[in-house]
């Protein structure tokens, strides 16, 4: 896939945004030394392809504004003479070379429009990461325009031009400039219009200026575009200026003298507001009075824009004289002028400063308490807005902490047996301002001093007019504190109790334990595998079990969202067994899952928790009336059903009293208005008795904001409120603009009910074997079943009648045909193309798709092995359609060059294919495909050695990821039976099976019948 890029180019005519793209292809290494001109970039699209591709993406700028352009770009390159692409791992030896490229150039006005269409967050495989930077920059530009943060200006060099200049002096905008400059993807400014231009060594300080220039150009382009000059009543000078501010290149039609005059005057105009874009600014630092004095100290100095913590006192500034001053790695030219000019602007915002500047080289001054208060309360903000930094003592530095709030101590009451949300806590509180606690009496006494800045317990704090009254009000109300309050107050900073912010919350040991588990600051207490559970739980699975039990005690719904392969099924089964062992499992639990995994559940339950009585509510023989259901449910612990039946048998299922409801593959209810989601929700909220709710999913559910509401609506409906509220408060800000504050808040809200561990987590990885094998049990579709039976019946008869010499071959042919049917009827019927409803015809394909969905979404890569080349071709076509990405297929017919290209691309291309199909014979040996973390054996070869060899393509020495091996087994079919045979007779298998599948040909007809007949799953 191609990747779109955008760079900023300073062409002689005008600065412009240039779009270009690269794509992975095989390129010949070349020598770059001694070249007189840059080489064409071997991996870039030419301008025709670029336009075509942009058109396809819907991102082609309108024709007249975009011009084709040749330009040069300095890119990190390999020593073999190939440029690196975004996302490639960096080789040890890196060189920088200029490359020649073709692109589409947009002037500033068009660029601003185009950039405004870019997504502000999210994954976009076709867009380079620097486009996100551009999108954020443009967002800022819009904000500057909306807030009117600009002034018209005049620039003289290289030619006289009128310009709209952004004002970046407000604190928030300074921070944004620093932020975007610091994070600037450097490719953005590494271009040159002139091929002769060489890569200049840029100091970090220069990036701020580059970004400021880009912002200036975009603001100018945007405002100029829609500005309409109206000359009536203006003198010639202003008329000319106004004209030049409208659409066009901004050229000023004025005599040099007039131009100069305009430039001088407007520069002053601007500088009194904004100051200059400089690497540092003046800073005033307030210090509390020493013990024996009531005079505050105000120290002068310079502060680096890039890092406000880098400061130099005025003495160092004066000492630098006319030379440079260094602030860390940042060099500040003419620091004295910078400081003086800043202090000059500060005079307008904080008048007492005048007194401090009467000396020759002032370093500090004294402030009376009243003056210090003015500084803290009002002047600090004004000073920051005129571009002067202010540093205040910690207890006064504004923000919530310096306001009146509460310090709380709380503990679960000793009488409490368990704990429920409404539980009232034992608690006490104190008032707190600026980090020091005080009593109501203290506050009264301090307020009596009639000074807004007072000293208490050694710290200076600020009292506000309403403080005393608010504190009294709280004291009078004397509210109770519930466990629910405690959970809320400890979930995020700045939460309030009766409108007072809670600055400190100290929980007693027992409450602390509850809070920590609830907020998952601490892993929940692990629970060992319960009695009656056959098998071992890994340590993280014991923690998962403990967590499920913990939330169960709170009567809170839980979503276990562990990564695929970590054993969600086992944890859930262990949880049910835990209930059973504790004699808490009194009524049946209903588990809803996609049809494709019902078989899997049944197998796993039989294996791990044989004590649990499992009933499948599925198929034509299922209970159809309430009476029949009640009868069928006698003694049953777990009922399995499908999402389809959840809808169809809704009334029947609603009528029964379940102890709990579990939904597997919970993404099935992501659409809240879908029928099956509503049915699940109705089942989760019975009128009479409480019912526990658990959802299982392997998808990163916390990142799918739109699906989160439906999930929480099922689990704990109060947590996220009504859907409309949720959409406005969370979904729009997060999905559209990637708002992290909302996302953080959302995660804090749902965090307690979500447990997701990844295979890559440090605490998990040590618990896992390096190679994890998973059996994927699947059924057969009706079409498969019919075809399977027919084939067995017809062929067995033929084999019986066949002469001995041919029998062997016919047996193997039958087995092959049956394996094909298990894969897909189309394969057995020798169909050559993928038609409508292709996936629905095979249960195995459906399940494969479900798992691949998680793989693709997680950005992982997978190898898919099959022994049937025809199946590979069909699957390739189907998967490509399904995921709209290329799926290479390496088989016996691939040429040597093709094979190498496919392997290289899979291993090297940063945006290469995620799925790679291989035929078992052609791809099983010799290849190194360590980028994959999943291996799928779609059909079985019944020779563990061959399968293992194939698996080892991904799992090799040097592989740092855990590899998940999925083996598909169709239940009731020949696949399951042979699998069982091999496992039961491991030794036999090693000897006999080692030779291939030949041994199957020698089976007796009765053995064969037993082996191939379809048994009830």
């Amino acid at each position: 896939m191609s990747l779109l890029h955008a760079v900023w180019l300073q062409t002689p005519a005008q600065p412009c945004l240039v779009l270009w793209a690269d794509t992975w292809r095989v390129a010949k290494p070349q020598k770059l030394e001694g070249l007189s001109a840059p080489r064409p970039h071997p991996l870039a699209l030419n301008s025709d392809d670029l336009s075509a591709w942009l058109e396809e993406l819907g991102r082609l700028p309108a024709a007249p504004v975009a011009a084709e352009l040749q330009f040069c770009l300095s890119l990190p390159s390999r020593s073999n003479g190939l440029p690196l692409m975004a996302g490639e791992t960096l080789p040890k030896q890196l060189e920088w070379w200029p490359w020649q490229l073709q692109g589409l150039a947009l002037n500033a006005a068009a660029a601003a429009d185009w950039l405004g269409q870019l997504p502000l967050s999210g994954q976009h495989p076709e867009l380079g990461e620097e486009l996100l930077w551009w999108a954020h920059l443009q967002r800022w530009v819009l904000s500057l325009v909306a807030r009117g943060r600009w002034l018209p200006a005049v620039q003289l060099a290289p030619q006289a031009r009128a310009q709209w200049q952004p004002l970046l002096n407000h604190e928030e905008d300074r921070r944004r400039l620093e932020d975007l400059a610091l994070r600037l993807p450097r490719v953005v400014t590494s271009g040159a219009g002139d091929p002769e231009a060489t890569l200049a060594c840029r100091r970090p300080g220069a990036r701020r200026l580059q970004v400021a220039e880009i912002v200036a150009a975009l603001v100018d382009g945007q405002l100029r575009q829609s500005f309409q000059a109206e000359e009536q009543g203006l003198d010639p000078l202003l008329a000319a200026w106004q004209r030049a501010l409208g659409p066009g290149d901004g050229g000023l039609e004025l005599s040099p003298e007039d131009g100069e005059r305009l430039a001088t005057a407007t520069n002053h105009w601007r500088e009194t507001v904004a100051g200059r874009v400089a690497p540092a600014r003046a800073v005033l630092e307030l210090e509390v009075p020493p013990n024996d004095s009531d005079l505050w100290k105000l120290r002068f100095g310079l502060q680096a824009e890039a890092d406000p913590s880098l400061r130099q006192p005025a003495a160092a500034v004066w000492a630098a004289g006319d030379g440079e001053l260094s602030l860390g790695a940042i060099n500040v030219p003419q620091p004295g002028e910078l400081l003086l000019e800043g202090l000059g602007r500060a005079l307008g915002a904080f008048e007492p400063l005048q007194r401090g500047l009467e000396g020759a080289a002032p370093e500090e001054m004294d402030l009376a308490a009243a003056e210090a208060f003015v500084l803290v309360r009002t002047a600090a903000a004004k000073l920051r807005d005129v571009g002067v930094g202010v540093v205040l003592p910690a207890s006064l530095s504004g923000g919530l902490a310096s306001r009146l709030g509460l310090a709380i101590k709380a503990e679960l009451p000793s009488s409490a047996k368990g704990f429920s949300i409404g539980e009232t806590l034992d608690w006490s509180w104190e008032l707190m301002i600026g980090g020091v606690t005080l009593t109501l009496k203290d506050l009264e006494r301090l307020a009596g001093k009639r000074s807004p800045l007072v000293q208490h317990k050694g710290a200076w704090i600020e009292l506000r007019p309403g403080d005393h009254k608010n504190a009294e009000k709280f004291w009078a109300a004397d509210p109770a504190l519930s466990l629910d309050d405690a959970l809320r107050l400890t979930a995020s900073d700045g939460d309030t109790l009766m409108r007072l912010p809670v600055h400190r919350f100290l929980a007693g040991p027992r409450l602390q334990a509850v809070l920590e588990q609830y907020h998952q600051q601490k892993a929940p207490d692990p629970l060992p595998a319960p009695e009656g559970f056959i098998g071992q739980l890994r340590p993280y699975q014991e923690r998962g079990l403990g967590w499920l039990a913990f939330l169960h005690r709170f009567d809170q719904g839980a979503c276990l969202a562990d990564d695929m392969g970590l054993g969600k099924t086992i944890q859930l089964l262990a949880f049910l067994q835990h209930l059973k062992a504790e004699q808490e499992l009194k009524r049946p639990v209903l588990l809803v899952a996609p049809t494709s995994v019902l078989t899997n559940w049944k197998r796993e339950a039989a294996q791990f928790t044989p004590e649990l009585q499992v009933l499948e509510h599925y198929g034509p023989k299922r209970a159809a009336t309430e009476a029949a259901l009640s009868k069928a449910l006698k003694g049953v612990d777990l009922v399995l059903t499908s999402y389809g039946l959840l809808q169809r048998d809704r009334e029947l299922l609603l009528g029964h009293d379940w102890q709990g409801l579990v939904i597997d593959e919970a993404q099935a209810i992501k659409n809240a208005s879908a029928k099956q989601s509503q049915a699940a929700r109705d089942l989760a909220r019975p009128l009479r008795q409480s019912r526990f709710r658990i959802a299982l999913t392997g998808t990163p559910v916390e990142n799918r904001v739109s699906e989160l509401w439906a999930l929480m609506d099922f689990l704990n409906p109060r947590v996220l409120g009504e859907e409309d509220f949720f959409r406005q408060r969370y979904r729009l800000p997060i999905e559209r603009y990637g708002d992290t504050a909302s996302l953080k808040d959302l995660k804090a809200r749902v965090g307690p009910f979500l447990l997701r561990r990844l295979k890559t987590d440090k605490s998990i990885i040590s618990d896992l074997p390096e190679k994890l094998e998973l059996n994927e049990w699947v059924g057969l579709s009706p079409e498969q079943t019919k075809l399977y039976r027919k084939t067995v019946d017809e062929t067995l008869e033929a084999i019986q009648r066949a002469p001995l010499g041919k029998k062997h071959g016919q047996v193997l042919a039958l087995l092959t045909k049956l394996k094909q049917i298990c894969n897909h009827p189309a394969l057995a019927l020798k169909e050559e193309s993928v038609g409508e409803g292709f996936a629905a015809r095979s249960a195995k394909l459906q399940r494969l798709e479900e798992i691949l969905e998680e793989v693709v979404e997680a950005g992982d890569r997978a190898l898919l092995f099959t022994q049937f080349a025809e199946w590979g071709h069909l699957l390739k076509a189907h998967l490509q359609q399904r995921w709209k990405q290329e799926v290479p297929f390496l088989h016996g017919g691939s040429s040597k060059n093709d094979r190498q290209a496919m392997v290289d691309r899979f291993q090297e291309d940063p945006r290469g294919p995620q799925l790679f199909l291989l035929s078992l014979k052609a791809g099983g040996v010799g290849l190194n495909l360590t980028r994959a973390s999943h291996v799928f054996h779609i059909d079985r070869w019944w020779n563990p050695a061959v399968e293992n060899q194939a698996t080892d393509r991904a799992y090799r020495i040097g592989q740092t990821k855990r590899v998940l091996v999925h083996k598909f087994i169709t239940t009731g079919s020949v696949e399951e039976k042979i699998d069982k045979m091999i496992r039961d007779k491991a030794k036999l298998a090693a000897e006999i099976v080692g030779s291939g599948e030949e041994w199957l040909g020698g089976l007796e007809i009765s053995q064969l019948r037993e082996l191939v007949s379809l048994s009830e799953a």
Binding site: L132, R261, T266, A360, G738, D739
Partner: protein
């Protein structure tokens, strides 16, 4: 003497900085009121075609009765290097003076710095302003010169350093001289106290050079919703009046110009907010 009104301001202008007012009073002290009146009309009607500050002199062209404009030169007595030594030494003593000058304000007690040299920054009498005009009129100042006088006052408000330039020191000369003196002053002071010169803090590490393409930061939460300007907080509000001399023939021009910018700026701001609402939902 912080500020007062001027002749021009009677025509509807706001308040002038005090140093401009000072200049105007100087001109108005001229005895020949008739000539001043004609000069005022010249100035107001745009007969002064250009004013340029060239080094220590002001060069102007004034359209008189003849086809070819008259050339007017104006200059002040330049301070000697020795005088400047005194002035600079005095200027160094109060950092505030430089602060204010750099912020575009003429300190109202600036003459105290010049008093030590026995000289002045502002001319005390009109006779101290030297002038020449290419017109046939024998009188000095003629109406052409006087017309230039009027306009120069406003030029001073555009840049307080202009007066220093006329007295013989350019902005950059002045600032670099002052910086050197401050450094010296500090060194002397520290040496007297036996203190070492201040040290530089440790260097910070350079940014990772390999971040060529990478950018994964989330959008600034404050940019999620694009908000309009709060009252009085646009750049135009904060910058105030244009520091451009009013062209007498177009007394309303400065205000008109700003008013139009304000109107269109608010429209463009609304447009930007509309764009921001639709952003992020593209293809």
């Amino acid at each position: 003497m912080t500020s007062s009104t001027t002749t021009l301001s009677k025509e509807g202008l706001g308040q002038q900085p005090w140093w401009v007012a000072e200049w105007m009073e100087l001109i108005n002290s001229y005895r020949y009121k008739k000539r001043l009146e004609r000069a005022w009309i010249y100035a107001r009607e745009g007969n002064v075609l250009s004013i340029r500050f060239e080094g220590r002199r002001v060069q102007a062209r004034v359209q008189g009765t003849e086809a070819e404009p008259y050339k007017v030169k104006l200059w002040l007595d330049v301070l000697t290097d020795e005088d400047w030594e005194f002035v600079l030494e005095a200027l160094t003593q109060k950092a505030r003076w430089t602060c204010q000058l750099l912020a575009g304000i003429m300190p109202d007690d600036i003459e105290r710095a010049f008093a030590v040299s026995g000289k002045r920054l502002f001319p005390f009498k009109l006779q101290e302003v030297r002038s020449e005009c290419s017109c046939p009129d024998k009188a000095n100042p003629c109406k052409h010169i006087s017309a230039v006088y009027y306009l120069m006052g406003d030029r001073f408000s555009e840049d307080p350093f202009v007066l220093f330039q006329l007295r013989g020191r350019s902005r950059s000369q002045l600032l670099s001289d002052l910086a050197e003196r401050r450094r010296q002053h500090l060194a002397d002071e520290r040496a007297a106290l036996g203190m070492p010169p201040p040290a530089s803090p440790a260097a910070v590490p350079r940014p990772d050079p390999l971040s060529w393409w990478a950018y994964t930061a989330p959008l600034d939460p404050d940019l999620v919703v694009i908000t309009p300007a709060m009252a009085g907080s646009t750049g135009l509000d904060e910058a105030g009046d244009l520091p451009l001399a009013v062209e007498p023939r177009f007394p309303e021009a400065n205000q008109l110009f700003l008013e139009r910018l304000r109107q269109q700026g608010s429209l463009m701001g609304q447009l930007a907010m509309a764009k921001a609402m639709g952003a992020g939902a593209g293809p």
